[in-house]
Symmetry: C2
Subunit: 410 residues, 2 copies
């Protein structure tokens, strides 16, 4: 069996060295990263990755959104098994978000080479462009454009804070790597994304591996509460229309609605508050706050949509800012991932992803699944982001097993 | 009796013309004013006022804080009866706040002249510098420095948003009016400030004149609620420390405390909210909000101070930002003001001021009182600020009666 041999060939020291090398491109403050999409740090990291994998005998392509496809050929010219994630970071991000999945995939390519394993199907390590969305909107842009190339024309005019358009940044990428052939999107046999959890569930459960069953759907709403701005000293309570107090009365019914629909699975956040005029001695004339509601069941999300407006008091306006359906990963891929975890001899937990990932778009393209490793204290998008080295190794071993297992499928 | 004669000599058209002329200096947007303290608009208004009152036979002085003292001599050289307010405005203020009290005082000087009344005591119309505090901090600076001149040295280094210090602005004022003599603070027989209510009480009661019994004391507190910033999608509810939800739990006990202490007199406002990181998909890691509590009884304010911290949940920090004791106006002055209102034939209401005024500082210097006229819809600090012309006239008539009555006192 080649899957156990691939698992056994994973070398923790090499994985950590790869992560350390990648972290050298675009370092940020306080030991974190600032390697935003298609920045100079990103281009340097790509150049290193291309050179290193070509030296391993891989072929490398790009596409119209500067995604990188790094192929280790199989015994047959079948649709490949893909794995990967992103190497762009938040402006004050950590060294593992996205990067771990790509470096773990690279370590698997090394392990296959060391163990002299030639899989039936090709294995492709993919670097998806601009997953974070912190330089160019929207996030998960590379995987979105791979799955639906027509979207790219809509993305190209989007500009970063300095006024550079995505189109200009993509053209600069093409000039930087003139020898890199472009490839049109291809069919894939499966996609697996290995990622840090970015939440506290695995750590709190004391379990090192999470088989991700799906990605929650999300609703972002904005609630505008209208009052009358007036002097805090001169206006008796009975004559006030205090928008802040009105906003306070909105929260219990929204919470009750979410609780009724989701129970223990409730994920409800009132994250952004803008109060006008926001002065100590002035009664708020307007309060606009947002709510983020997530759930894995589309029926729950639809019920939330249907009931939200009716549970709010008068003098409020509600507006949907963003909506995304839940993603359910492919049962056959989940099955392989469970076996891969078991092959490491470590415990696994089914878990759903609260955050978006490139796998969300890939799930519409081919059978897809994700593996999580724990995040210390659930911290991510922060220089303090950390996962135990042994857990990073375990995730990579499971990935190697799963890739080979899938790549041997007919 | 000269007080009724002075009342009868007040001319509404002249009052409105004076207000209109003053509004020509430093106009703002939407028909409002932008005449901040010691700005070019303020200096032009002062030049006009000095020239006009000198032409009326008045003598004019200034002092170290650029207050203007415009004296109409009496029959005897006794401490004067003072009246006045301020002519600086908010950056988007109305035409009446402060300005009404000064123009009504000027109209009274005209009325005395027209009626050939020479009061026993001098009458001084005063323009207090920088009451609004919107250009230089703190507000009510001119009256504060008049009452306690040692404070001025502490004020002079304070800078406006453009970096100009108060000291520089005061020096420029002195250069602009080189002929204006400086005068040290003098004793006064009484001070009366006529002002728009800036609240809705008189309008709602349908009563045109308010005799102000005092100014509420105020407490400004800031409450810091500490949580942990985390991803809205990945963090289960049970593992969250949501600073926004923590802040919500603070409001009912604070409200209950204020209600218990103040009952129907409660004035409690949660006006300023700063949420970090204030992102839709991030649980709030910190929320800082302010509360403004006002009351006329020092014992209530002290009880609030003593109980506030104990009623807040864990993980909150409370800090007092500002505190001012209540002001009670002088019974003898209130008595004269009540008679003055009655002399107009119109109804009056005892009212307390929820906002600060220069009279707050003057009350520590000499017997002091205030008169209010209604504000339409309670609106002030806004171009929509408005009082019916007949109400502006009625207030001025009462002021004329009161000034003469006080100025005839031995």
């Amino acid at each position: 069996m080649s899957a156990p041999a691939a698992l056994a060939a994973v070398r923790a020291e090499r994985l950590h060295s790869l992560l350390e090398t990648l972290a050298g491109f675009g370092p940020g403050e306080n030991g974190g990263m600032d390697r935003q999409a298609l920045s100079e740090g990103d281009l340097l990291a790509r150049a290193w990755l291309i050179e290193r994998t070509q030296a391993l005998g891989c072929r490398v392509w790009t596409d119209g959104c500067a995604n990188l496809f790094i192929r280790r050929d199989g015994r047959e010219d079948l649709p490949p098994v893909m794995t990967g994630s992103h190497i762009d970071t938040q402006p004050s991000g950590g060294t593992l978000d996205g990067c771990y999945g790509v470096m773990a995939g690279l370590e698997c390519l090394h392990a296959l080479e060391d163990a002299s394993i030639r899989t039936r199907r090709p294995i492709e390590l993919v670097v998806w462009t601009n997953e974070e969305g912190s330089r160019f909107s929207p996030g998960a842009m590379g995987s979105s454009a791979f799955v639906e190339p027509a979207r790219l024309e809509g993305y190209r005019p989007n500009r970063d804070a300095a006024g550079v358009s995505l189109g200009e940044a993509l053209d600069a990428h093409a000039r930087r790597f003139p020898g890199l052939p472009q490839r049109a999107p291809i069919a894939a046999h499966a996609f697996i994304e290995l990622h840090i959890e970015q939440g506290p569930v695995l750590e709190q459960a004391g379990i090192p591996l999470g088989v991700v069953t799906g990605i929650q759907g999300v609703r972002w709403y904005q609630v505008r509460c209208k009052g009358t701005s007036a002097h805090a000293g001169t206006t008796p309570m009975s004559m006030r229309r205090d928008a802040l107090l009105l906003a306070m009365t909105c929260l219990p019914p929204i919470d009750a609605l979410a609780e009724r629909l989701a129970g223990d699975d409730k994920r409800l956040t009132f994250g952004r508050w803008n109060v006008k005029p926001n002065a100590i001695n002035t009664i708020a004339g307007e309060v606009v706050f947002t709510l983020d509601f997530r759930h894995a069941d589309p029926a729950v999300l639809h019920a939330f949509d249907a009931s939200l407006a009716a549970c709010l008091p008068a003098d409020t306006e509600v507006e949907c800012l963003f909506s995304h359906a839940p993603t359910t990963f492919h049962p056959a891929v989940l099955d392989v991932l469970e076996q891969a975890c078991d092959a490491t001899g470590l415990a696994r937990l089914p878990i759903r992803s609260g955050a978006f990932h490139d796998a969300m778009y890939l799930a519409g393209h081919c059978p897809t699944g994700m593996l999580f490793v724990p995040s210390r204290a659930g911290i991510s998008h922060n220089p303090l982001e950390f996962t135990e080295p042994a857990q990073l190794e375990a995730g990579t071993r499971a990935l190697a097993w799963a890739l080979v297992s899938l790549a041997e499928q007919p």
